[in-house]
């Protein structure tokens, strides 16, 4: 990382202010410090500037300036990400999109909305809610996270099980490419001619450019919703119930699991109605037409009972349902009541391996002398072990990283993945070789170079750094053939 001299910094600042205005550039070190982390406090990196554009043209001008000056740049939304994806790993510009947060257009007849990237996920559903519509992807941080961040990470959420992830709900994107050019990917219809560049861009973690307008699908709110809470005295029983529900051919909108440590934290937070003494609880939601829903709910209740649930009940009303979801969606933050910090893992495993993997996760974390809380999308097999630690105790951060690595290895071993929805970011980049071959990674590198040939756009993310690959395995520590030929390089 190049350190900017004071005089260069001063002249850059003047140029940045000429683009976005004097009140839209941060350069004071104390202010920049606030931007050193996202939702994952384990990782930290300082920017040289944080800037606040209000239009695609301003973003483009900023990106062109960054290119001219060889300054790295990265987009940031609300900073609720969990893999360090928006950190300026090599310094440079953080381009905050929080002042681009308008709903530009809602086309109810065609069930779509055009929005800016800094719009908060939930605010879109609020905007269209009165007319009976909503935006389906519902990451647990939806009350704060932005749609731009959702695009970068291809975010999921509890209702992913039935409705799919962000990419299934994005029709088109206006994007400022890493060289500053403004292009449109996709459009306003679901049919896409040519390459599916929307599909390529969504989930590219900010390495392919910066989305400045987003065309999203809106869905009609389901006419009926039923939410079932099943309480278990053993985690294994809850895991078995998940498999039983899916095996019976039922398609709930969501199947979430929440363990005892997490239940206690969220009960302290909001008193949501989860029994504190339960080993685990499942939150199962059905939605759709009222017809047949009772029968489906009855089959889910039966599946839970057969698996050993000690209590199964249905939310009496919308208020109780909302409270249960509030507990589920606030779970990560609620760990603050029992620990000053946590690192959340995001592994995905085949559902049938749930009982084994959960047992192993608990063993691994305990072996590192740490505690873990589990709250996750059980229906998808998308785990979220939250490793609790205290950064003030010497050596704990290193143990957290080691436990996290062991969990990722475990997920890979059982045929799963190291990430479901939080992105690879900085946090998991060195572990990509666990699930991808050198050839796989090389192909991804070539794709990245097509969009981002200089590597200035969000450097240091997704791909392993050669220095630290040794701990993952020998496969990635050797330069790949295409690197040797100069066709690709590691960033």
């Amino acid at each position: 990382m190049a350190v900017l001299t004071e005089s260069r910094k001063a002249s850059l600042r003047r140029e940045l202010e000429a683009i976005v205005g004097a009140g839209a550039v941060l350069a004071d070190p104390d202010e920049l410090l606030v931007y050193e982390s996202d939702g994952l406090t384990l990782l930290r990196a300082l920017a040289d500037f944080v800037v606040f554009p209000v239009s695609a043209e301003q973003v483009s001008a900023l990106v062109r300036l960054a290119n001219r000056e060889s300054l790295p740049f990265v987009a940031r939304g609300a900073g609720t990400g969990l893999s360090g994806g928006c950190l300026p790993a090599e310094g440079g510009l953080v381009i905050s999109l929080m002042r681009m947060n308008r709903v530009l257009e809602v086309d109810y007849d065609n069930q779509l909305a055009v929005v800016e990237p800094g719009l908060v996920n939930l605010h879109l559903s609020w905007t269209v809610g009165a007319r009976g519509y909503y935006y389906a992807p519902d990451p647990s941080s939806q009350q704060a996270c932005t749609l731009g961040g959702n695009i970068a990470n291809n975010s999921g959420g509890p209702h992913t099980l039935k409705y799919g992830v962000t990419t299934n709900h994005v029709l088109g994107l206006e994007v400022v490419l890493p060289d500053g050019e403004i292009v449109w990917l996709g459009g306003r219809t679901r049919a896409r001619a040519g390459y599916d560049l929307v599909g390529v861009f969504v989930g590219s973690e900010g390495t392919f450019g910066i989305a400045t307008k987003i065309v999203v699908r809106l869905l009609r709110k389901p006419p009926a919703v039923k939410t079932v809470l099943a309480v278990f005295d053993a985690i294994d029983h809850a895991s078995a119930a998940v498999s039983a529900i899916i095996a019976r051919g039922l398609v709930p909108a969501a199947v979430e699991m929440i363990d005892q440590l997490t239940i206690q934290a969220v009960e302290d937070a909001f008193g949501c109605g989860y029994p504190r003494d339960a080993a685990a609880a499942l939150l199962v939601e059905l939605d759709g037409l009222p017809f047949g829903m009772e029968a489906q709910a009855a089959r889910i209740v039966q599946a839970c009972r057969d698996a050993g649930a000690r209590e199964v009940r249905t939310a009496r009303d919308e208020a109780e349902r909302q409270l249960l979801w509030k507990g589920r969606k606030s779970a990560f933050g609620a760990y603050g009541r029992i620990s000053p910090a946590y690192m959340v893992m995001d592994g995905v495993i085949p559902r049938t391996k749930l009982p084994y993997v959960l047992r192993r996760v608990n063993e691994i974390v305990a072996a590192h002398g740490l505690r873990v809380g589990n709250v996750f999308h059980a229906g998808d097999g998308n785990l979220h072990p939250n490793i609790l630690y205290d950064p003030r105790r010497p050596g704990e951060e290193a143990r957290v990283v080691a436990a996290g690595a062991a969990i990722m290895r475990l997920c890979a071993e059982v045929g799963g993945s190291i990430s479901g929805e939080h992105g690879i970011g900085l946090e998991k980049s060195d572990f990509m070789p666990l699930i991808f071959s050198a050839a796989d990674l090389a192909l991804m590198q070539r794709l990245k170079r097509a969009f981002n040939p200089t590597g200035l756009c969000n450097p240091g993310k997704i791909f392993p750094t050669s220095k630290s690959c040794a701990e993952v395995g020998p496969v990635a520590s050797r330069p790949h053939a295409i690197e040797e030929k100069g066709l690709a390089q590691r960033f």
């Binding site: 410090l33 790993a89 939930l122 302290d268 933050g333 603050g336 009541r337 105790r393 240091g460 630290s468």
Partner: protein, 442 residues
């Protein structure tokens, strides 16, 4: 830089504190960011230093000695409304209000500012708020200024605009003060009507009693109609909330002790408060005086007896008969009622009992209007932005009136409506309840 991971082990020194006040609560913040979208200043500016998470991070960095209290940091902390909306949504239970109060006290210690700022603070915190007598005198003088036509002259002459920002804001905000009769103290005892349900002591407040004596009278009447015997302890003064929020910690402690002493003598079942900041602050006396062995237990006992007027009244159905109040209103939640005391459904349940009254919900009803104690005087620019945001939502409801429950909010929203030339009125909740009684008792 190869990688952003830095092992950054901080020495586990003593407990974190600013100005001798514990800020250990910063360690409860796990940086999840769920608070961001609920913060009015973050919504307006989009800068994370002006978000709860960012401010907690600044406070933590200050206490750990990672940063010094520079101009920028002080500015971001002072821009906090202390509305505590972030506390309502925080899953980790970060005691944000306490953290920001400690930070503001530290700012006063390190950066007391120039002569103008110090004079403003001394006048408000040292002279007026500490003495009901001086406040009453000032009010009499102010009333004379307004009644004499001097006020109009100042406004017309453009002198007001030439005054510095905060003075101009004071000038624009000041309501026409009521006549002397309304500023007069309430009777020491107002007997209960019908079956007696409790003996309550009423906080008449410092600014409240001067500007909104009518609300105190309405509060006493409504309480009496609901079966409460109301005592109004003589010699009561300011509860110290404005001092505490403004970083004037030492005087806040003094005023708290004095308030406890005065109210203990009233031997009431509960202390009823009709102003939001005072109620929230008095409920926190136990924490405020926790380190004072002579007062800790008394403060805890006292704090447990404090109730907001809506909280008290909503415990039982309103006693009838009630006369219809034909009006469409909307309700604005004062921050220190809804966030500071978690009272959300009670005022709405009370309004729902008034026949003929139609209540429409207000968008962002629990967002700060920008009044925030002395905030509209110290941070006029942000206060005006939030006032405009609030008034925009109010006008969108089409309601004839806004009901709320705090003098600061009433002044602020009134000023905002007036600035837009809107006819909508602003009432304290107790005024509407008072109207619903067929013949008000004296």
């Amino acid at each position: 830089m190869a990688h952003a991971v830095q092992e950054q082990t901080r020495a586990a020194a003593g407990p974190l504190a600013l100005h001798g006040l514990s800020v250990e609560g910063v360690n409860q913040c796990v940086h999840c960011g769920l608070c961001l979208a609920s913060c009015p200043t973050f919504a307006e500016l989009g800068t994370e230093m002006d978000s709860p998470r960012g401010r907690i991070f600044l406070i933590k960095s200050l206490a750990e000695g990672r940063i010094a209290l520079g101009e920028a940091t002080a500015r971001h902390l002072e821009l906090c409304l202390d509305c505590r909306a972030c506390e309502t949504v925080c899953p980790a239970g970060v005691p944000y209000g306490r953290l920001i109060e400690a930070a503001k006290a530290e700012i006063e210690r390190q950066r007391p500012g120039g002569a103008g700022r110090r004079l403003f603070r001394w006048l408000n915190f040292g002279v007026l708020l500490t003495s009901p007598r001086r406040l009453a005198l000032a009010a009499a003088g102010l009333r004379a200024y307004q009644a004499s036509g001097l006020a109009r002259l100042v406004r017309r002459s453009g002198l007001a605009r030439r005054l510095s920002g905060t003075l101009a804001a004071w000038e624009a905000l000041l309501p026409p003060l009521p006549r002397r009769a309304e500023r007069a103290p309430l009777p020491a005892l107002i007997p209960a009507e019908g079956a007696r349900r409790a003996r309550v002591a009423l906080l008449s407040g410092c600014v409240q009693s001067v500007v909104f004596g009518a609300h105190n009278r309405a509060t006493a009447r409504v309480l009496a109609r609901q079966g409460a015997e109301v005592v109004v302890p003589a010699g009561q003064g300011c509860c110290g909330a404005l001092n505490a929020h403004g970083g004037d910690h030492a005087r806040a402690l003094e005023l708290a002790r004095r308030t406890i002493e005065t109210f203990e003598a009233a031997r009431a079942d509960a202390v009823v408060v009709n102003t939001s900041g005072c109620g929230a602050h008095m409920k926190a006396y136990g924490h405020l005086l926790a380190d004072d062995p002579a007062w800790a237990a008394r403060a805890r006992r006292f704090a447990a007896s404090v109730v907001d007027v809506a909280e008290f009244l909503a415990r039982e159905p309103l006693r009838g008969p009630l006369t219809p109040v034909a009006m469409t209103v909307t309700y604005h939640d004062p921050c220190h009622v809804v966030h500071g005391q978690k009272i959300r459904s009670e005022p709405r349940r009370l309004l729902a009992q008034i026949p003929g009254l139609r209540v429409v919900e207000l968008a962002e009803s629990d967002w700060c209007c920008g009044s925030a104690g002395l905030y509209n005087l110290t941070q006029p620019e942000m206060a005006t932005r939030l006032r405009e945001r609030k008034v925009g939502h109010v006008l969108a409801t089409g309601a004839e009136a806004v009901v709320t429950a705090n003098p600061g909010c009433i002044l602020q929203i009134q000023a905002g409506l007036a600035a837009r030339g809107a006819a909508a009125r602003v009432f304290h909740l107790v005024e509407l309840l008072d109207r619903a009684y067929p013949a008000a008792t004296p």
